[in-house]
Assembly symmetry: C2
């Protein structure tokens, strides 16, 4: 019985994700699912990307268990932000497409070219749920160590981009870039790597340009 219910839930998820992807395609809104551990630097990176994507217009859906801190951090950018708190749903460790659907109803989609979804800070669960995004990005900070692509492979397998963040801290860590690169390749040879620091504004432009191209191709 339990297996049957789980199967039904995952089928619902797939159907909703497909619905979202098609709906947004019709509206010309490119959706990016941003995943990563707590404190990997997702919010800071999204903030910088939004600045650099102009004149393309951005929007954000913020997923958090509790608090609206990340949404507040994005205030002042003058982009539409919707907050989803999972605490009322038992503090869920990921976002589900049904919640994205509800959030989309509240967002002015005609004013958005690129919609970032900041998933719950968690390198495990969000990767299991297709939320209907057109691009999946995993943020991995260098302070987390080189072995994470091997230990938490699913997030790397379902992603198109890995943003290797906080590279300004490299001089103070015993971190081997070639090691993480090799671990990423082993886990998913298709994954595109961007090494960057949002704090020091290093390497973010390259990722922004990549996204710009993606969004423009998508809208054609």
């Amino acid at each position: 019985m339990e297996i049957k219910i789980l199967k039904e839930i995952m089928e619902d998820v797939k159907a909703s994700a497909k619905e979202i992807r098609e709906h947004l395609k019709g509206k010309g809104v490119f959706m990016v699912n941003v995943m990563g551990s707590p404190g990997s630097g997702k919010t800071s990176l999204i903030r910088k990307l939004i600045e650099k994507l102009a004149p393309l217009k951005a929007g954000v859906i913020e997923g958090d268990i509790e608090t609206t801190r990340d949404a507040e951090q994005l205030a002042g950018l003058n982009v539409p932000v919707m907050q989803i708190n999972t605490a009322p749903f038992g503090g869920e460790c990921h976002l589900e497409p049904s919640w994205i659907l509800s959030a989309l109803k509240e967002l002015p989609l005609e004013e958005i070219d690129c919609l970032f979804v900041e998933n719950v800070g968690n390198l495990v669960c969000p990767a299991e749920f297709d939320i209907g995004a057109h691009l999946q990005m995993v943020v991995l900070s260098v302070t987390e160590g080189e072995d994470k692509p091997l230990k938490y492979p699913l997030a790397f397998r379902v992603s198109h981009i890995v943003a290797l963040s906080k590279i300004d801290l490299l001089p103070y860590l015993s971190y081997r870039l070639e090691q993480v690169e090799s671990n990423i390749k082993k886990t998913n040879p298709e994954l595109k790597l961007f090494a960057l620091s949002a704090e020091k504004d290093k390497g973010v432009k390259e990722l922004a340009n990549f996204l710009k191209e993606k969004v423009e191709t998508f809208k054609k």
Copy 2:
């Protein structure tokens, strides 16, 4: 139906956790559940703690989705280590007491005073599952930012100790210690804070001494 099944599962979890706690009490084994984000420094800290706990004897249960890297990192310490991989269970984001029970059967409990369980790297899910430990510790690295106790409150609410790790990186971060202290107090005023760096061997001794006392009181 779904709710009923979930309720039954959580009742099973509670019963198994209680069984484990009593079983270990009888054997004089003090169990510590170590939780935290991927890359927060759990393995390095456990390694250092084991060295400093001597002559008390330690053991480790390593929880990972895939790979045995953390267990390998502990080899050479000459303590019994059991690896639990959750990949065969659908890549579960946490450890469950039933798996701990199986691991306990394989460990030489009579040779262990303090048993560390390194949970899956995840600041959300492990906190939801009582695994029968006598002490709960959450490891939070300073690179994760000051706001995590507010954003992921459950792990901090169910813990007795927070190990604030990687403080050797503080000079390179815009991090306010008083801010994280205040956020910890707001979330759980009972939580005992140890600021430390396993890499630079700073502050670990204080935590080891605290644990030593706990283990000795427990064994009386």
